[in-house]
Symmetry: D2
Subunit: 386 residues, 4 copies
């Protein structure tokens, strides 16, 4: 059985999700190459040491440059803050390591293209962390489309709604600072929608967007981690430099129409990553808050029993389901990472590129920036312009 | 076009629903016999006079004995309080009038049998007001079962949940007094479930029930109508003499198992008249609070898209839908009465008994009393014992 | 009690809905001015004669010019095809009649402005048929916003999804012909969304849209009425001259962001007229296919029980509910017209303009055309440009 | 940090779920005592060897008697088929080991009492595997009841619906054989409902049940594991000796009424472990197929916004949520076992009995048998009779 020795940079929200995936793959997918958790790396010695122990890494360090040079590492997993992705990825590729990078690939399209070229030039495998593709219900949507069971696609509408910063007293965490996060709801949430659009429907040809930052200033945080943070009412304030909400419309190469909305100002939506697809033969609906379910409609159903079916994607007929529990026994958020890691391990073992890879990351970044241009210039922007 | 001249006794909640049905039938079902609203009758001259004007009756009166003797009346509609049903029905039948009686047919099985015999002896048409049969979604459930599309039926579970008397200060209206209402949740709500069971699954063979009155005393009401009433905290109190909740289990002749629950103590349920049926080939679910919908599941669906379908019973393929609005434009509670009246008018025109008729009312009463016996005697009771 | 004598032009889908509203108002809202159904008018003598009898109009005719001159008419109700609205409305106003006009007010903004000016000049009451405002659940949304219970509004997203022309063999009915219908999904469905946006959130400042006609040619119909029609596969074909789907993004004067989508190509959606509103203190969601329900979320709820509440707008606390049935007993599509008519009758009785009136119709038309411009010119269009 | 050295007997469906829990506890709950996966034991050497490697156990064996005597084991985890529970548990307790036993504790009440007495006599900690208690949404229901936020409880209705044996060709696996499984839907599914009733509402006083085996004979299986199996149409058949469905009604000591139904013949329900509770101040609803959600209703909500709230139990205010992902990022079936194991580790560390323990297992068995008696004797049975 082949093994893949992993060195990971980052140890917070995504670091925890990735670590757990590495732990679970050998147990639930024993036939794929086994990830070996060699080393974890982060800026805070105390934080990373504790993470190493808690998550089960063999070793830890604070110098990622050293990590990417280690001989006993096959794969570098990058889930540090977004502004660090590029430099690490370039170094890892240069060192001949496979690279698994969290989304967004980079802060700019140019940077992400540089990363793709570097990975290709180095001949390594590369993957980008669009984990939502790997929900079994999303895989089912893909299957229905590929098999033609939804017919010609007319509409893709998607929205990623959250509410964790609705309170104006929520502090100015790094995700609200452009120089670290690149963008706000657009790059964080919209990027997932764009990738799902690419995965499910295909390429876009043109876009036009709009954007808003509802709360312009926020208290500086006293501490932060993941999506949570502590602030205080009398703290000094700093400017929010990313978008709170970004919407855009799009056309697909196939002729389908697209509608996208990403916002962190939708009270009641903790994590509504949702889409609906309408085709000539049927429709599907997905909402990540009920991630085990896909709503499916077929125009060909008998006249008196037409209606959206609530399909629980936990049957043997569904992707990855056999590895888990009996039908009706649902899985959760972390499983998207496990399935993603399965794809990565399989691709490395089979000597092929995993999907989604840096090319998908570039394509996503291209759309993100096209939307940015369309907002700045108040006009439709063709994707090929970038 | 045949006409049916109607004289109605009762003018409150049910009187309003019936009146509206008589008004709407000629407009939406112009091909069936036309009900003519000749006369309305009630105890309070002022109340009935106002109702006559508001609802559109040609005349009004306070003496139902006079009404049932009028030559220009073909059909007597009885929706007075339950304790008055029998006497009026007997008189109407004796006078050769067709009789449409709200449920429960009578306060006792013996009385209801007497009513059936009288109607049969008189050779008149008779109907009982189990209006929920006439929701298009319920009709769809019936069709699926009759066509064998659910296979052999294993389970019928039904519950009618309301919450209008959860407040202990809610006053002692007539529906909480045994001598007028006959019973509480059992006869009021459970009766509908029993009729739906008969309609959809067939006859029961044996039952066992349990029952409770959670609030034993309530303030005497200062005024009351329909389901609403006014009381006051310092009013004198009187004993509640009916059940607040009654549950029972049952076996059907077909071998199916039944589970029934009627309660007025289920906060959050304004009018959850709901059932689920499981058969060897599929299942259906219905909830009156979403009365336009039937959830339908087929075991024969393709492996990867099995799931309950939310069928909106507003398509041309659904009962009564053609008379109303385009697909997706829903109907409401009052439409069950309109459809019920369509059946009544058609039956009279065609010279056949409408369905459900007094025989169905008797059958329902038989089960209600069998459950009562089973509660008193703490044992299974066979329906044929009564 | 005041009476309002009505003359109506049109007798098909909307004519039926309006007629029923006039019939039901006196029964369920006996305290408002009573509509008297004096005369109905249409092009086909046989059709209108039959409608008069079936719907309960005192008289009928085929010449609307004659109708608007009758002395015994107070109100002209226009629900003829859209291209006839303007001429009739101008004549009715000139004759001193109040005017109730179905949406869209006219085929162009200029025409609709002319209609508003004529009605104002004549000093008559005028109303436009945006009936969805009158669903109790929509009224509840309005109340929550007006009382500040949702806080500052950030997002309004709305979509009106239907599927009745997904089949390419569905014939070329008048609603698919620009010269009669004015526009397709945009004017038919999007107009309702725009009006709801105006009603609930306020004025828009700028828009940008996109549009598509997926099926360019369809069989010529052999007969048609309402939303249904008969065609045949070997019929000659004609060009579809309206949009199958139109989307647009918008900004509101208040700073809120808007997203709108109208399509007839969404299989599984018979009549999904839906919106969601997100504010600083809460959110609401509405879907017309479950028109009795409003989903309501408050950020101020206790930490451990935050979630969207499914409010069934049938309680005494909800608009219009007292006139109908006990809580939990739902109403349907036609009730929106009844409530709309109540507003019209009340306004006429009180000597004030009803809401929504022609000014609202103009405002809606202004947005519709601004979107059209933005599509043709591929740019953001400010509402004030028109 | 304290460690608990585990020896486990069983390695299939439950063995996998338990193993994963032991693996995940140290990562997600680093502050509780750490389970150390010392040894796994099963009848098939090849099967258990493979499981040991895949699940991460340090050693494996086929002789459980040897295992329970090992000095380096603190805790024996029993998830072998039900007929083996008692003997192993007695031996483990005699050897001074803590015991964690899957439900049902034993095949009979007498056996389960013997197990409890043995564990108490030995002074060891004991736990029984009612894992559904540990869904955060169920914990929330418990909290609301304990804090009095639902008021006095009137109703508990629960049903566990599955459909995995609806096909008559599904083979005669061990779960359908009384001598191994003890009972069918009653002991397998109903037992969970009974435990939830005890956990949430309290003790029962009397019960009456009914039961059915719809398919009397099934093909003998060629192989089986977990809930899946392979059979063939021409295989010899054997009798099904357990119930396909069992229903019962009950009274609680508190005066509440209970309704229970367990069936494997409910097509469309893969794993609907659901309950609803109605109290004087509110209601809650739970369905395991949407295990992250609790529907919550309060009578005290403002008049115009009363409705069931869909609470996603993934907020910091919810049990166990802090250990996982940000709000809205759901968890799955396996997490109930992880939380259960957290309770077990904490109890051992703190020197107290875990909850639920063998006393809860006995209480559950007592109700199961009382229901069995009530079915055989066709009468109400008081729990204290047993």
């Amino acid at each position: 059985m082949k093994q893949v020795r992993v060195g990971m940079i980052g140890y917070k929200f995504m670091g925890k999700a990735h670590s757990h995936a590495y732990r679970d793959v050998p147990m639930f997918f024993p036939k794929v190459a086994k990830p070996v958790m060699k080393a974890i790396c982060g800026r805070s010695a105390e934080g990373v040491r504790q993470a190493a122990e808690q998550f089960g890494w063999e070793s830890w360090g604070t110098d990622w440059r050293e990590l990417v040079q280690r001989d006993d590492i096959d794969l570098i997993d990058i889930n540090a803050p977004s502004d660090a992705h590029k430099e690490i990825a370039l170094a890892a590729a240069a060192a001949g390591k496979h690279v698994f990078c969290e989304k967004p690939l980079a802060l700019t399209l140019a940077d992400s293209r540089e990363m793709l070229q570097a990975a290709e030039a180095a001949g390594v495998k590369h993957m980008v962390g669009f984990n939502y593709r790997f929900a079994p219900a999303v895989q089912l949507a893909k299957k229905l489309i590929e098999e033609g069971r939804l017919g010609q696609i007319y509409h893709f509408r998607a929205w990623f709604l959250q509410d964790w910063i609705v309170d104006p007293q929520f502090p100015l965490v790094w995700r609200l600072q452009k120089e670290i996060a690149g963008s706000g709801s657009h790059g964080d949430l919209g990027a997932h929608l764009i990738d799902l659009a690419h995965f499910l429907i295909g390429n876009l040809t043109e876009v036009i967007g709009m954007s808003e930052t509802f709360i312009k200033e926020r208290p500086l945080p006293s501490s932060m981690t993941g999506l949570s943070a502590k602030g205080s009412g009398d703290a000094a304030k700093g400017p929010v430099t990313v978008d709170d909400a970004t919407l855009f419309m799009a056309r697909f190469e196939s002729g389908a129409l697209g509608s996208f909305e990403a916002t962190r100002f939708a009270p009641g939506h903790r994590c509504t990553n949702a889409f609906e697809i309408n085709g000539s033969k049927g429709s599907v609906k997905f909402d990540f808050e009920r991630m085990n379910e896909l709503q499916v409609y077929f125009t060909g159903d008998a006249d008196d029993v037409q209606g959206f079916r609530r399909v629980l994607a936990t049957d043997p007929a569904h992707a990855y389901a056999d590895a888990w529990w009996p039908p009706g026994h649902t899985i959760g958020y972390e499983h998207t990472f496990i399935h993603e890691t399965v794809e990565l391990m399989q691709a490395i073992e089979e000597g092929r590129q995993p999907v989604p890879n840096f090319a998908d990351g570039v394509k996503c970044q291209q759309v993100l920036e096209a939307v940015d241009w369309s907002i700045e210039q108040r006009r439709w922007v063709r994707i090929e312009e970038l």
